[in-house]
Symmetry: C2
Subunit: 288 residues, 2 copies
Amino acid sequence: MSGDQPPPTEAEWLAAYDPHAFTPIAVTVDIVALTLRESADGDTALHVLLVQRAEPPFQGHWALPGGFLRAGEEDLDTAAARELAEETGLHGGGTGSDTAEATLSRVHLEQLGSYGTPARDPRMHVVSVAYLAFAPDLPDPQAGTDAAAAAWHPVAALDLSAGSTATRDPHAPIQLAFDHARILADALDRARAKIEYSPLATAFLGPEFTVPELRAVYEAVWGERLHPGNFHRKVLSVPGFVEPTGRTTDRGGTRGGPRARRYTAGPSRRLHPPLLRPSQEPGPTPEP
Amino acid sequence: MSGDQPPPTEAEWLAAYDPHAFTPIAVTVDIVALTLRESADGDTALHVLLVQRAEPPFQGHWALPGGFLRAGEEDLDTAAARELAEETGLHGGGTGSDTAEATLSRVHLEQLGSYGTPARDPRMHVVSVAYLAFAPDLPDPQAGTDAAAAAWHPVAALDLSAGSTATRDPHAPIQLAFDHARILADALDRARAKIEYSPLATAFLGPEFTVPELRAVYEAVWGERLHPGNFHRKVLSVPGFVEPTGRTTDRGGTRGGPRARRYTAGPSRRLHPPLLRPSQEPGPTPEP
DNA sequence: ACAATAGTGTCTCTGAGACAATATTGT
DNA sequence: ACAATATTGTCTCAGAGACACTATTGT
């Protein structure tokens, strides 16, 4: 009745019953798929799956894999899993390699957030729902029909400054399309925080792994060296994080050392206590 | 070229250039606005802002406030702030009461997640981007043109079971529309975790508050009694969490006690160390 | 006077981190 | 033989929680 607010709200609701009448918005799903691979310098480094755009806008630029949500057909999670399977060439319910299926089923996939600035795509208003994936070392992807190429890129070689002209690293010249640098930066923040309180670091590894391999995951994601002894004891002290298999590796490390015990991921979905990263500066404002 | 994947991906991209050609998807923004209010039994309890639907589907049911994203005009964050201002009657840039403006500017608003199951709205495929708001005690809202009523509801009086037939509390008969029970449950999880590591519990209070008031926020959100002495010392030990004003309350508590010191929110955006809630069961799987 | 509450002090226990030590393996 | 690494042990310190205590205020 006596509303002091403008009436267009009612018109909008009416428009919902004639879906073609209003200005359309597209919904896409983009994937930030992270994995650990051998980098050029020999170290294992964090890599992200990218596709090279074959058409404008941003033709030739690298972008996050993704695609349109199929209207009326699929859930957001389903669309994300489908896109990831298509881009990695690992079809979850397909024929052929059991290895690919088993590997894909071990991939962790979770929603990251949505991005809907009107100008983020010059063609139309596109709302993108971003997903974050933790994957074990997968084979090189094959480019789809809409991409000129698809490959794993070390995240250290990408420019994440995303408009903030401050930190422009000359050694990270690769500019991502759209606002994907921002999305990737958010994904890395989430990943770094997630492995503190969840056992998802094991999603980067195979079904069986050693404590030193798990430590390499944390070191790659956090970008810091961890104390081997303390890390080892801490991981084993968290109930349900890892479970011993009784087996060991076939041989020691490439540079010597005893064989390491092999573990599998435990049933816990939450680490108590958590594995906090060292770089959490305590005092941000020390008075002079 | 030699792609072994089906070509519909290309067709989808072509469709993007003719936006009206494909099956449309609507994008809405829904708000989970939480605040602390005096409950019926006298205790302060967590409340959520709900609107009663005036039209089908779910006519007469209570639902989260929200509305359509204005295509080509606004960002997701902007749309969320607009919806919140409309539903609470607090217009950020309007004329009149400075109090309403100042209060609304103190509201914390963050993206919660997106929900896009095709069948969640019977009219069409709707992707909803949910937002979480922490608000100080606001006046009762006024119903918009599309709602029969708008009010703050104690979350304890709502049915959050959302299909999982397990915990159906007979004293919580209010059923929310659509999948809003699920969204609210996710929002509560987020809120409970968020105040552990961020100073956002202060967003539920006015610009000046006491430590016991802050403790009441934590007790209401977590649903647990906290030790007054330990809580007090812990809050003051976190650098940048609260800052003393030198002032105290005008009088003691309603049932006696000395006057409490007043504080303002400090500059820290992250609590080091965090205020962990007590109910974190360590061993979920004790073997028999 | 009495009860309730704000704020502080003290003690204990757990866990993180620095450091050391030992055993095992590749080169 | 030597270096590198896996794993365990020891010590110290910070922080959480239980408990006790004092001071201040409303009824």
